[in-house]
């Protein structure tokens, strides 16, 4: 019976999974762009910029996601009628940006300073050197920790239900509340879907790691 219920509700679980993936991709994309900007500001910024970036990072790492979701959904609504999905992508994306900034910062700092000097010495501007010499190397260093962050976020998309984004976990909990006594079965099914998604992500990252592998560095 439970199998049948699961089968009949598979489309909804998959629909939830679709929302989960979409939200994860959106928030990670925001996280990369903003996180990178924060990291660059922290490492290379002048005047108050590093301090400002650190402040933003601390704030978004410190405030619980649920409050960020409220702020971005109901707060922005005062000026602009934002949808739940974009609000969630923005709130969780900026939160992820704070975490990602630490990952990128660590990676940038691990690149020997000679690389920057050499880039400047052939006439590159600072920005050019960062873009074509420092970051490509830093990305490789960042892949491992970034994977950790991406997988956390994949599952944290479930927080978005708070403001009404119905994703995988919520579809599962609908089933749980409507079919009392099968908590483990439905959450188990959801967990299995997450596992498949995560393994796909890990595999993709491993491929990327191989692609970016450069002789002279451990690739295992």
């Amino acid at each position: 019976m439970i199998v049948e219920t699961l089968w009949l509700n598979l489309p909804y679980l998959l629909e939830g999974a679709g929302v989960t993936v979409l939200l994860a991709v959106a928030l990670l994309a925001i996280g990369i762009v903003v996180g990178l900007a924060l990291a660059l500001a922290q490492v290379y910024g002048r005047l108050g910029l590093p301090l400002l970036a650190t402040l933003v990072e601390r704030l978004f790492r410190g405030i619980p996601a649920i409050v960020l979701l409220f702020l971005f959904y109901y707060g922005i609504s005062i000026f602009y009628d934002i949808g739940a999905f974009p609000a969630a992508a923005l709130a969780l994306g900026l939160r992820s940006a704070a975490y990602q900034s630490q990952i990128f910062r660590g990676a940038i700092l691990s690149i020997p300073s000679g690389q920057m000097a050499a880039a400047r010495a052939i006439g590159m501007s600072g920005a050019m050197a960062v873009a074509s010499i420092i970051l490509p190397q830093a990305f490789r260093q960042a892949i491992g920790p970034w994977g950790n962050e991406a997988l956390s976020e994949l599952k944290d998309t479930s927080l978005a239900y708070t403001i009404g984004v119905v994703e995988l976990m919520r579809q599962a909990s609908y089933l749980v509340s409507d079919n009392y006594g099968h908590t483990l079965a439905f959450y188990g099914a959801a967990a299995f879907v997450y596992l498949l998604l995560s393994l796909a992500a890990t595999l993709a990252l491993t491929q990327l790691d191989r692609r970016l592998a450069v002789p002279g560095f451990d690739t295992r």
Binding site: E15, I163, V166, V176, S177, D178
Partner: protein
Amino acid sequence: QTYVAGIEPSFPPWASVKRGEYVGIAPDAVRAIAKQQGFDVKFKSMSFSSLIPALKAGKIDILVTGLTVTPERAKQIDFTVPWWETKLDVLVPADSDTNMITALCCGSNVGVQTGTTNYEWLKDNVVGQDVDLSIHTYDTDTTALQDLLIGRLDATFLDDDTARAFVGDNPERIRIAGQIAPHPAQVYALGIAKNDDDTLLKTLNMGVVELYESGDWAKIIHKYMPDAAVGKVPTEMPADVPSYETPIAGLGS
């Protein structure tokens, strides 16, 4: 006119999701009222904690679920006239000999969903009365019940309707040990934002009463709870709820 109804559909038989559709007494009733009163309704699902901010931000217009009326809550939102009165059931494992009395004393572990008025009732009427009892609070009823089955709990407290639904599904594992009729009465109603313009409150109040009078209310109730006795609507109105001051919006005296 289209109203957006905020719903947390994990509270059968009042609100749940089946195959992607919002079902349960509350959404069915609101659809019927909408038809009668000539407005459109759109449902939007979100977590319970988000319903109130959403209402205040104008993201939704009506709270549609098994929403218990309390004077405390009435400071933040307006309630329509109550349409259901519920009792508190004490659930115990089917094979246990715990009764109403032993469930509430003697080192008993009792589970209850947080944020429910059931929890409030327990706190107000049992805790601090020098009884030997520990209360465990749960995010959802289902987790509390699961713990009852595992044996971490001796009894759980929950709304009569929900309790019946659960027992109906698992008669061999859980039984109802007894019922408590709290005072003041626990009643359900729809919620809306506090607003100077009481058009919506009037419409809904009228809708609730007309739905009851047309007999459709009883049909909806019986669809989800075949054996339930349908009481008069509006039911008893708790004191200190501003929107219940006479004249009641939409209902005259």
